[in-house]
C-alpha cells in the first residue's frame, strides 16, 4: 500500500463522512451536542485542502498531515482524538513508501494506543475505542493468519461496524454521553459510528 493508496483512503473517508454527516450529527444530538457530523465534515474538507496544497511523498507524511490538520481544524473531542490517531499511525510508518499489511496493523495499533492515552477510555465506555479496538484486533489476527490484504481490511471493517453497533446497549462512561447516565443506553455512539466509516473507507480504497 503506497502513498496513493492512503490518499485514496482519505478521499473515501471524506466522501463517507460527507454522505453520513447528518446521520452522525443525529446520533450526536441524541446523546451529545449535535455536531459530530459537522465537525468531521469540516475537518476532512480541510484535510483535502491541506493534502492538495502540499502533497506528501510518503504514507507516513500523508497521515501525519491528515492528523495535524484534524487537530487544527476540528476542535471538540473528536478533533484531538482522530488527529492523534492519524498522527500516531503516520509516525509508526516512518519514512516507508510501501506499507505491508503487518505494518498497517502496527499503525492501527499505534492509533489505538494514542487515542487511549489521550482520552483514557477503555473498551465498553461507549466511545470510538469500541470500534477502533476490535478493528485493530481483527486486523492483527488477519495478518497473523496470513489473510489476503483485501480480506484483512474486510475483517477490520466488519469488526469496526460490529463494534459500533455494539455500543447501542452500553451506558457511556466517557465523553458527553456519560452525562446522560442510564439515558445514554439505546443509542449508537457517534464516534464509534464514524470510526466504522473510517474502516469501511479503508476497505473501499483497497477495492478501487
Amino acid at each position: 500500500m503506497n502513498t496513493e493508496f492512503f490518499a485514496a483512503w482519505i478521499e473515501e473517508i471524506t466522501s463517507a463522512v460527507r454522505a453520513g454527516r447528518d446521520h452522525l450529527t443525529e446520533l450526536d444530538a441524541a446523546i451529545g451536542d449535535a455536531d459530530h457530523g459537522t465537525n468531521l465534515d469540516r475537518g476532512f474538507t480541510a484535510v483535502g485542502e491541506a493534502l492538495a496544497a502540499a502533497p506528501p511523498g510518503t504514507p507516513g507524511a500523508l497521515l501525519v498531515l491528515t492528523g495535524t490538520t484534524l487537530i487544527r481544524k476540528v476542535g471538540g473531542a473528536s478533533g484531538p482524538l482522530y488527529g492523534t490517531a492519524f498522527r500516531e499511525m503516520g509516525k509508526a510508518f516512518g519514512e516507508a513508501t510501501e506499507i505491508s499489511p503487518a505494518e498497517l496493523s502496527a499503525g492501527v495499533d499505534a492509533a489505538l494506543a494514542g487515542v487511549r492515552r489521550l482520552g483514557s477510555a477503555a473498551e465498553g465506555d461507549k466511545t470510538m475505542v469500541d470500534a477502533l479496538a476490535p478493528a485493530a484486533a481483527a486486523l492483527s489476527r488477519a495478518v497473523r493468519d496470513g489473510l489476503k490484504p483485501e480480506e484483512a481490511l474486510e475483517a477490520a471493517a466488519t469488526a469496526a461496524a460490529e463494534g459500533a453497533r455494539a455500543t447501542v446497549p452500553l451506558q457511556a462512561r466517557k465523553g458527553r454521553a456519560s452525562y446522560l447516565g442510564p439515558r445514554s443506553v439505546g443509542h449508537e455512539d457517534p464516534g464509534a459510528a464514524s470510526t466504522a466509516l473510517v474502516f469501511g473507507a479503508l476497505r473501499a480504497a483497497a477495492s478501487r
Binding site: 451536542d33 481544524k73 471538540g76 473531542a77 465523553g175 456519560s178 439515558r183
Partner: protein, 330 residues
C-alpha cells in the same frame, strides 16, 4: 429552523465581525478567531484566556475587558476551540507574568486546551489551567467524564480577572480561580431544546408538559424528564439539587441565568423563588445576576449557580469590570 444567519458555516466569523463593529474596546482577530482587549497585554499582569464552543453568548467574548478576560477563543457552535487558536490567544495576552487558561470540563475543551498549553509552553509562555466543573447534575463522576463546567465559569472569569488586575502572580490567580470553582455549584432546567444551525433541527423533543432536569449548556438532554410545574416548584428542584451537594450557608452569590430564549420577566419570577428558598435554607444572597449570561442558543430554561462567598471573593466580585456583557465601577 429560522435563524438570523448568512449561513451556518460563516456564523462564528459573521458574529465576530459584529462584535468588532459594536465594541471598540475589543480587538477581534478574525483570521484566528480570537477576541482580545484592544489595549493589548499589560506587562506584569497575568493574562486570562478562556474559550469554548460558540452558542453560549455572551460567554466568553462578552467578558473580555478590564477586570475579566484578556482573550476569548470561540469555537464552532458547541465545539471547543482548536489548539492553534488557543496558542495564538495565549501568546497574544502574555505580559510576561504567565497566562491562566479557564477551561470548562468537557473532553473536547480539556483535550484542546491541554494541547495548547503544551504548545504554548514550548514557545516559552508559562500556563496554568483551572478546570471549571460546577454542574451537580452529573453525579458518579467516576463513571462519567466528570462534572461539566457551566455557570461558575462566569464567576471564575470575573473573580480571577479582578485579582489578575491587581498584579497578583499566576499561582495566586490560579488559586483563587480554583477556590471559586470549588465554592460554586450549578443546576439547569430546560423547557425547550435548542436548534444548532448546522444541524437544522432541535436537539431533542420535549412535550407540552415536560421539562428536562439537569441539563448542560450544549442542548444535550438532561439526566431526567419531569412534569412542567409552577416556577416555585421548579426553582426548588434546582436549589435542592445544589443543596444536596453543598448545603447553602452564609453570604452567597447567585446567578439566575437564562438559557437564551427565556424572557427576562420569567427569570425574575424564578429568582424571587430561588432567593426565598435559599434564605429558608439559611443562606443570604448578597450578590446576584439575573439574565442571559451562559446560554444555549435559543433554549428556554434557566440555570441556578451559587457561590459561597468569602470576604476576599466578595471584594474581587465587586471590583470594577468593563466588558461588553458585565460592567460596573467604570
Amino acid at each position: 429552523m429560522k435563524k438570523l444567519i448568512n449561513g451556518a458555516g460563516s456564523l462564528v466569523s459573521d458574529a465576530l465581525r459584529g462584535m468588532a463593529a459594536a465594541h471598540p474596546s475589543l480587538r477581534v482577530d478574525l483570521e484566528n478567531a480570537v477576541v482580545f482587549r484592544a489595549e493589548g497585554p499589560r506587562p506584569g499582569k497575568v493574562g486570562l484566556v478562556s474559550g469554548g464552543g460558540s452558542g453560549h453568548e455572551p460567554l466568553h467574548a462578552g467578558f473580555v475587558g478590564h477586570g475579566m478576560l484578556d482573550a476569548a477563543c470561540p469555537g464552532e457552535v458547541f465545539t471547543s476551540p482548536v489548539p492553534d487558536q488557543l496558542v495564538e490567544a495565549t501568546k497574544g495576552v502574555d505580559g510576561g507574568a504567565g497566562v491562566l487558561h479557564i477551561v470548562k470540563n468537557y473532553t473536547g475543551d480539556v483535550l484542546n486546551f491541554e494541547m495548547a498549553a503544551e504548545l504554548s509552553g514550548d514557545e516559552g509562555v508559562e500556563v496554568a489551567t483551572v478546570l471549571v466543573n460546577d454542574d451537580v447534575a452529573v453525579r458518579d463522576s467516576l463513571y462519567t467524564a466528570g462534572r461539566r463546567g457551566t455557570g461558575a465559569t462566569l464567576f471564575v472569569e470575573k473573580i480571577a480577572g479582578a485579582l489578575a488586575e491587581t498584579g497578583a502572580p499566576l499561582a495566586e490567580v490560579a488559586r483563587v480561580a480554583r477556590e471559586v470553582n470549588e465554592r460554586s455549584r450549578s443546576f439547569g432546567v430546560a423547557l425547550t431544546p435548542c436548534t444548532v444551525p448546522a444541524a437544522g433541527k432541535p436537539t431533542f423533543e420535549l412535550g407540552e408538559t415536560e421539562i428536562e432536569l439537569g441539563i448542560g449548556i450544549h442542548g444535550e438532554p438532561g439526566r431526567a424528564r419531569a412534569a412542567m410545574g409552577e416556577a416555585r416548584e421548579i426553582a426548588r428542584i434546582a436549589v435542592d439539587a445544589i443543596a444536596d451537594d453543598l448545603p447553602p450557608s452564609g453570604e452567597t452569590l447567585v446567578m439566575l441565568n437564562g438559557m437564551g430564549g427565556t424572557p427576562l420577566i420569567e427569570l425574575y419570577v424564578v429568582f424571587a423563588e430561588v432567593e426565598a428558598y435559599l434564605r429558608e435554607k439559611g443562606a443570604t444572597v448578597v450578590r446576584s445576576l439575573v439574565g442571559n449570561y451562559v446560554t444555549s442558543l435559543d433554549m428556554q430554561g434557566f440555570m441556578v449557580t451559587t457561590c459561597a462567598l468569602t470576604g476576599e471573593l466578595t471584594r474581587l466580585w465587586d471590583a470594577p469590570v468593563e466588558t461588553p456583557a458585565l460592567r460596573w465601577g467604570r
